[in-house]
């Protein structure tokens, strides 16, 4: 495992998000330290995606503040937040359907952040971004010499699209990577190939927040888990403690089939 510090990189302070009468989030607080892999679990509609939208600027919380490296980012524009190094995948996948898979990554590679943080050869030449894009896709299990990376994203099956979502984030050189259910919709074998990748990314120093329904796999990678129910935080702690928490069992694990 990576050396985990107690240096907080993301601080969520009493965030509430109301949609009219619906309290999608109610007074949720969470601190993410550098190097953490924090899991967020909760039944459908418990506010997990809403929390991600609040962090990444796609929604402005009704109440509360969010700070990244001690700087207030509440209500900042999504592209500003992404530019700071908080990158997220979308639960409902949002590839560029009309472009080949590798071109999907050329867009984040053209972003100001990718130019600044770089880490890839060249520095703006057309051909280069394409190669880097294929490199990243290869790491995610797109076979380089097959036709898959060059196919239109609209024609790819779910498994590849999920990984393409991850790829778009990785191209940004994220500091905090937020995954919204990257495992769901994948087969067991696909997941078991993704888990080592997640571990590797974490070992490279990327802090992660993972929203998941697939608890077994989540608990393999997460060092801390927060459970939400109806927008409220029930508990937070090491995976074993969370899973044995009576309220979690009641709210989330009414069906034990995940075990």
């Amino acid at each position: 495992m990576t050396q985990r510090s107690t240096e907080p990189i993301l601080e969520i302070n009493s965030v509430s998000m109301h949609f009219g009468g619906v309290k999608a989030l109610d007074n949720v607080s969470l601190t993410v330290n550098r190097g953490d892999v924090v899991g967020i679990i909760g039944p459908n509609g418990s506010g997990k995606t809403t929390l991600i939208n609040c962090i990444t600027g796609f929604l402005k919380p009704t109440l509360g503040t969010i700070a990244f490296h001690g700087r207030d980012i509440t209500g900042k524009k999504p592209h500003k937040v992404a530019d700071m190094g908080i990158n997220r995948t979308f639960q409902v996948m949002r590839p560029y359907f009309t472009m080949p898979a590798y071109k999907n990554l050329v867009i984040p590679l053209s972003s100001p952040r990718a130019k600044r943080v770089g880490g890839w050869r060249g520095g703006g030449r057309h051909g280069d971004r394409n190669t880097v894009a294929v490199d990243i896709l290869e790491e995610l299990g797109f076979e380089r010499d097959s036709r898959v990376p060059y196919k239109l994203a609209g024609t790819l099956p779910t498994g590849y699209l999920k990984r393409l979502e991850l790829g778009r984030c990785l191209a940004m050189r994220p500091e905090l990577l937020i995954c919204d259910e990257v495992f769901s919709g994948l087969s067991a074998s696909e997941i078991s190939s993704l888990v080592p990748l997640i571990e590797k990314l974490n070992a490279q120093g990327i802090t992660m927040i993972m929203v998941e329904h697939r608890l077994v796999e989540l608990f393999r990678v997460a060092n801390r888990v927060m459970a939400l129910s109806y927008g409220e935080k029930i508990t937070e702690g090491p995976p074993q403690d969370v899973i044995s928490h009576p309220k979690v069992r009641e709210a989330y694990l009414g069906s034990e089939e995940d075990f």
């Binding site: 796609f58 592209h79 990158n87 972003s111 057309h126």
Partner: protein
């Protein structure tokens, strides 16, 4: 096993072009480059020879220039609508702003035509981009309807406040010093605009622009400002439109509120549909069909618009993909014999 048996098979001429390795198109012979370049050269040559061919008939020479003007406006429309996802009905706005600025540069500040056109193109594009900034977050029909208001608003403002020469406009603007400069200035302008935009949409910056059309949320999530990207695209489109307007007023030596006329916003749509949406070249072909057709139909008097409408409808119904997409498909289906190695 004496002579190696020579076999031949038929294959499509774009085969070599379709085979790709990582990012580059593998072109393995001059012949293949030829197949790729031939259509481009054909179009370029047509436009370069047009002034020569039309020089005996000054009237048709002017028609040729009108083709170029409409082509420029149509490229601008096609680029915004089909690459950026902004369906703009403000073509007349770009055109009028370019025209008026060039007129002022020429009559007030005494700039020679080509310099005035250059200033009008750049300054006009900046003004148009700033003017359109507030509507960039709008999409689809909302953007269309708001941009439609801009030229109409200009007409009313000019009439009501009697600014910019009022309903009279500006007269006595310098023309070009010869038939040839007039012709080639515009033809070159069109070719530059066409090839530059085609090149742009295939660069990484152009890819980002197209991504905004495909999925703007993901563009945001990639740390790129959607508004700024759209603004850049609008700037490029208005460069093209302003150039057309600026050039036109020097051809006829006057500018008036007709530079903001509605058909300057509508005709490009027809040309784009006939020629093929999302191809940039298509709209040029569309313009080359529509303008001469409309001239030929002058003899029909009031029936002109009927025939015109029938032709348009025919194209939309029978060739809804547009001529360019149709021709591209047919061209790529041409087969040739090759030796099997």
């Amino acid at each position: 096993m004496s002579e190696p048996f020579k076999q031949r098979r038929r294959e499509r001429i774009d085969r070599g072009v379709k085979v790709r390795s990582a990012s580059i198109y593998a072109l393995n012979s001059l012949e293949e480059i030829g197949y790729l370049l031939a259509p481009r050269m054909l179009l370029t040559c047509c436009f370069l020879f047009m002034p020569l061919a039309l020089s005996p008939w000054p009237y048709w020479g002017r028609v040729g220039l009108s083709v170029c003007i409409l082509a420029l406006l149509s490229i601008s429309f096609d680029f915004l609508a089909n690459y950026v996802g902004l369906v703009s009905l403000g073509g007349a706005f770009f055109y009028g702003i370019g025209g008026y600025i060039s007129a002022i540069c020429n009559t007030e500040f005494g700039l020679p035509p080509f310099l005035a056109i250059l200033v009008a193109t750049i300054l006009g594009a900046m003004i148009c981009t700033i003017a359109l900034l507030p509507c960039l977050p709008l999409r689809g029909i909302y953007f269309a309807i708001v941009t439609l208001m801009y030229p109409l608003l200009m007409i009313r403002l000019i009439e009501a406040f009697d600014i910019l020469g009022g309903t009279e406009g500006f007269r006595g603007i310098d023309g070009f010093n010869s038939f040839w400069t007039e012709q080639y200035g515009l033809v070159l302008g069109l070719l530059v605009a066409l090839f530059a935009l085609r090149r742009f949409v295939n660069t990484d910056a152009g890819l980002v622009v197209r991504a905004v059309k495909d999925n703007d949320q993901s563009v945001r999530a990639s740390g790129i400002s959607v508004t700024r990207t759209k603004a850049k695209a609008v700037f490029l489109a208005s460069l093209t439109g302003c150039f057309a307007g600026a050039y036109y007023i020097h051809m006829y030596s006057n500018v008036g509120i007709s530079s903001f006329a509605l058909d300057l916003s509508i005709m490009p749509i027809a040309a784009t549909i006939i020629g093929g949406s999302g191809t940039l070249v298509g709209p040029v072909i569309g313009a080359a069909i529509l303008v001469p057709l409309s001239e030929l139909l002058r003899d029909f008097g009031s029936l002109r618009i009927v025939v015109y409408a029938l032709v348009l409808t025919g194209f939309v119904v029978f060739r809804s993909e547009g001529l360019m997409n149709f021709l591209t498909r047919k061209y790529q289906q041409i087969e040739r014999w090759v030796d099997i190695r």
